[in-house]
Symmetry: C2
Subunit: 332 residues, 2 copies
């Protein structure tokens, strides 16, 4: 075993959209597990928009300041175990961070079942993004087959799963994405009924055409003006899932929300969604979506980058909206 | 019976806060009921903030343009009936408008039960404002005794009932009002635990002190910046009832809402509340609140003005926030 490990730290607090130089790759001595601890080697690292909030110091999970290692969920392999229940070779899900190796106690790790299809999926379709999509649609919005569901960031980590789950439920599903190519993927690969281009000048009119009865469920992953455009078109009894704010993660200002009168008129139900609250329902989620995965109705949509050193650029790409699916770093 | 009736029409669309000259009192020939109709004489007329939206042409119930008679709910007395089930002397609740007399078909009228305590209450504590308060707290927010409930416009038609219903449920109830005298009434007469002055420069800090565990339920009757101040202080799992926008009824602009991130962080549930949707639960409401009224835990809080000719000025006072309780016009 090497006596060195690598990790990525925040070099400086980004201004606006992050750039490579905001991060630094460091080599450190390999950590050793104490009694009751496990040394893990990361296989896959999840990169997510919420990390932009962490490094801005305003995420509910805490702040990352310059010099701190970047945090993040990983699928890791147990290298050395001084804890009961874990042995070398076991695959676990844990918060290993942007790091080749990490030390964990048992309660910080979750074993991937032997029947788990592919390890990276524990960070994407069958992981936190999938759980987010499922919790929003089924636990909060309680979608029904007659609903028209609108999903911005349609091909992103959460959006791609949300769209497919809503289709599996029989809903009319309209995506919104920022590039023609993503729109095509949403309809041709992920099965959305339609996908509109966010940059279309007539987006409101296009939405009206795509949702002639109004929007029943708006799964907000972007915030900003799009939330108001959608709220203006809510059907009576419409539900709004407030889940992400990618449109403003790169800004230091909080953008105001839609005029409340729009939600009064629609008798809207609006839910603040934080996936951590649904951790205790992960097994239920897996039980429901695993059959959809196996019969092909829930397709993975991953954007996999090789090597920890590529993580900063992959994250910057994500924050520029140039990713193509759930962003995951594959480590050696 | 006189052969003349009086009514108030909209003389012109108000700019900003309405003034007397925006309305005109008219004398008209007395209408005659056709077969299947009833002639009613108004006893009490309800004046409500939503009427400001009607005359601005943007209320969900429809628009009133210059020359149109003003609409509104009344308690009226049957004068002449050509419809089954109604006889002279019967008291009914109907939408008689700002008018001494009105014609209705049976399905537009609701008989006041013989045991109904006092007719004006059918427009206030035991009427639509009461139903609004009850529906918001019990049907949507589902208040529990451990909740801290914050109510702006604390001494208004809905606020006064909401505060008392929340107290009856065992909640900690904090009001907000625009005058010292109203604050005193909220605590001394209506039983609020505290009532803060909206104009207090340190309102945010005062709210923090009054709600050390955060706000569990915010019954929004005003919109505007206050909604953001309250949303910043929501407890985890907090509920927001979007019900009124009095802060912007006099403006032609829609004011943006709170940054959605506040609601994500709180895992808020936000409900658009329109009282019409709860009409079918009015009996259930009355059954629950009537005992509170009879044992003194639900006190009427009415601001009664005499004479139809006074209705315009009473409405203008209401829209300036100078009313003292639910505004009702008593007709001769």
């Amino acid at each position: 075993m090497s006596d060195k490990m690598q990790r990525v730290v925040l070099a400086r607090t980004p201004e606006g959209t992050p750039v490579n130089e905001d991060f630094a790759l460091q080599t450190q001595p390999m950590p050793r597990p104490s009694q009751g601890e496990v040394l893990c080697q990361a296989k896959y690292l999840s990169l997510d928009p919420y990390m932009r909030s962490q490094i801005a110091g305003r995420h509910i999970s805490g702040s990352i300041t310059p010099g701190d290692p970047m945090l993040g969920e990983t699928v890791s392999c147990v290298l050395e175990s001084k804890a009961e229940g874990f042995k070398p070779g076991d695959l676990v899900r844990c918060f290993g961070g942007w790091s080749s190796h990490s030390i964990h106690t048992p309660k910080e790790m979750f074993l991937l079942g032997k029947d788990f299809p592919a390890p990276s999926l524990a960070l994407s379709t069958l992981g936190m993004p999938g759980l987010t999509a499922w919790a929003g649609l089924h636990c909060l919005a309680r979608i029904k087959s007659e609903d028209t569901v609108v999903i911005p960031a349609a091909t992103g980590g959460v959006g791609a799963v949300a769209g497919q789950l809503a289709k599996a439920c029989g809903c009319q599903v309209i995506g919104i994405a920022g590039m023609t190519q993503k729109c095509r993927q949403a309809t041709e690969v992920l099965g959305f009924d339609a996908c509109l281009n966010r940059r279309d000048e007539n987006l409101g009119e296009e939405l009206d055409k795509a949702c002639p009865q109004g929007i029943d469920v708006y799964f907000d992953l972007v915030g900003g003006p799009m939330l108001t455009v959608a709220s203006e078109r809510l059907a009576e009894g419409g539900r709004v899932l407030l889940c992400g704010l990618i449109s403003e993660y790169n800004s230091s200002e909080r953008i105001a929300g839609p005029p409340p009168g729009l939600w009064i008129r629609a008798r809207a139900k609006v839910f603040g969604l934080v996936v951590y609250d649904f951790e205790d329902r992960r097994q239920e989620f897996l039980k429901e979506v695993m059959p959809l995965y196996h019969d092909g109705r829930l397709k993975p949509h991953e954007d996999i980058i090789e090597g920890l050193a590529s993580a900063p650029e992959a994250f910057c790409r994500l924050m520029r909206g140039e990713n193509n699916g759930k962003v995951i770093v594959a480590l050696s």
